[in-house]
Symmetry: C2
Subunit: 202 residues, 2 copies
DNA sequence: CGACGCCCATGACAGACGTCACGCGCCCGC
DNA sequence: GCGGGCGCGTGACGTCTGTCATGGGCGTCG
């Protein structure tokens, strides 16, 4: 019995290459590929994959959102998250959202198929280096509003613009950002935003 | 006669997947893989590939720097640049540095092998959408110093820190950044830096 | 209930930031 | 030679930011 796979990654070249890699395995078959988060649900419905490989950073809907969507719809698919680099904060959020495994794009290609098999067998798979980093880094200390403010501050917009996007007073935004700057040990809102993003806190 | 390939990409999973994809082609063989820019030269020497696939964003040395290095050493290898997304500014710099082709990671996987064959045959390969975008976007209007300042401003550091990194007076840095903000039509240094980065001006 | 944390806001203040004008030196092209 | 662009710097100006104190409203937990 082959394992039916769905691949979700926004870069077509990477997606296709992963498909080639996994199709080489005798016990696997890629039955669907999508390039946007908001196309996953539909694809899962029609292709009925056993395991989904989800990139976390995708247009349309990020991997975490897709996970929640799939769970809300009661789909039996098991999901293995694939993401670029560390971002330990994503690990917890992905696991909380129902992910069955978590690997980074730095892992050797030869281990991916094995991770897929483990997830398919119901075993939870977590990149060990990432897991320790996650425990070491501690939990996300930011409040919801602070996270929103940081997300809006990532591109370097002036506070007034950020306030407009969040429908808040500029003073309030400054307070949130100031608090976030304090919690991250940085000195400007952009540094704080980058810091938080690196840890997957956003 | 098979085409001997070298792959350079910092993400092991992507690298391995691309290797799997290209090894499927009867007329190709991946003879070397590296994960850092500064390992390419050595690998080219020992493996003598016909064509190199170089990611532009890599630790150690970026793809453009690698190109210059290879040309300075007189290596006969032909290089096909692979990069994430638009960044039209990279196109010109890569071509000037001796690249024989340029594809983005959004192109379908099925076209990659053909691009490699074309490059190997001595034909220049450029993603057409990217080429028009490059012509439309016009040339890079920034001076060298402005580019340095923007690069140092990308992470949101205070001007004083940037000035320290560049061994310049804070006032001078402010002038460069102000000039760059004007040229990019933005309102803060971080916005200007992002804007320039998106266009591959850095 | 009272304490606490989060949300939202205001006001004040020092320092950082972006703009502008101006200066000097250098090199390159006309 | 001489203008003009670039590198580098200074000074001044007004605005934006980050910090802090303070307030009220709300939900939660002991």
């Amino acid at each position: 019995m082959v394992i039916r796979l769905l691949l979700a990654d926004d870069q077509a070249l990477v997606r296709g290459a992963l498909a080639a890699l996994l199709d080489l395995e005798r016990d696997m078959q890629v039955v669907a590929q999508v390039g946007r988060g908001d196309e996953v649900l539909q694809a899962v419905r029609t292709a009925a994959p056993d395991v989904c490989l989800l990139d976390i950073e995708m247009p349309g809907n990020d991997g975490i959102g897709v996970l929640e969507q799939l769970r809300a719809e009661g789909m039996p698919t098991r999901c293995l998250m694939v993401t670029t680099f560390g971002r330990p904060g994503y690990l917890r959020r992905a696991m909380d959202a129902g992910a069955r495994g978590f690997v980074v794009k730095d892992t050797p290609a030869s281990e991916l198929a094995e991770a897929v098999r483990r997830v398919h067998a119901g075993v939870r798979v977590v990149d060990p280096a990432l897991a320790t980093e996650s425990l070491l880094g501690g939990p996300n200390p930011l409040t919801d509003r602070e996270r929103e403010a940081l997300r809006a501050a990532l591109d370097g917009s002036p506070i007034q613009v950020i306030a407009g996007r969040l429908f808040l007073s500029p003073g309030t935004v400054r307070n949130y950002l100031s608090s976030a700057i304090g919690k991250t040990g940085t000195t400007t809102r952009v540094e704080a935003a980058k810091f938080a993003e690196d840890r997957g806190w956003l």
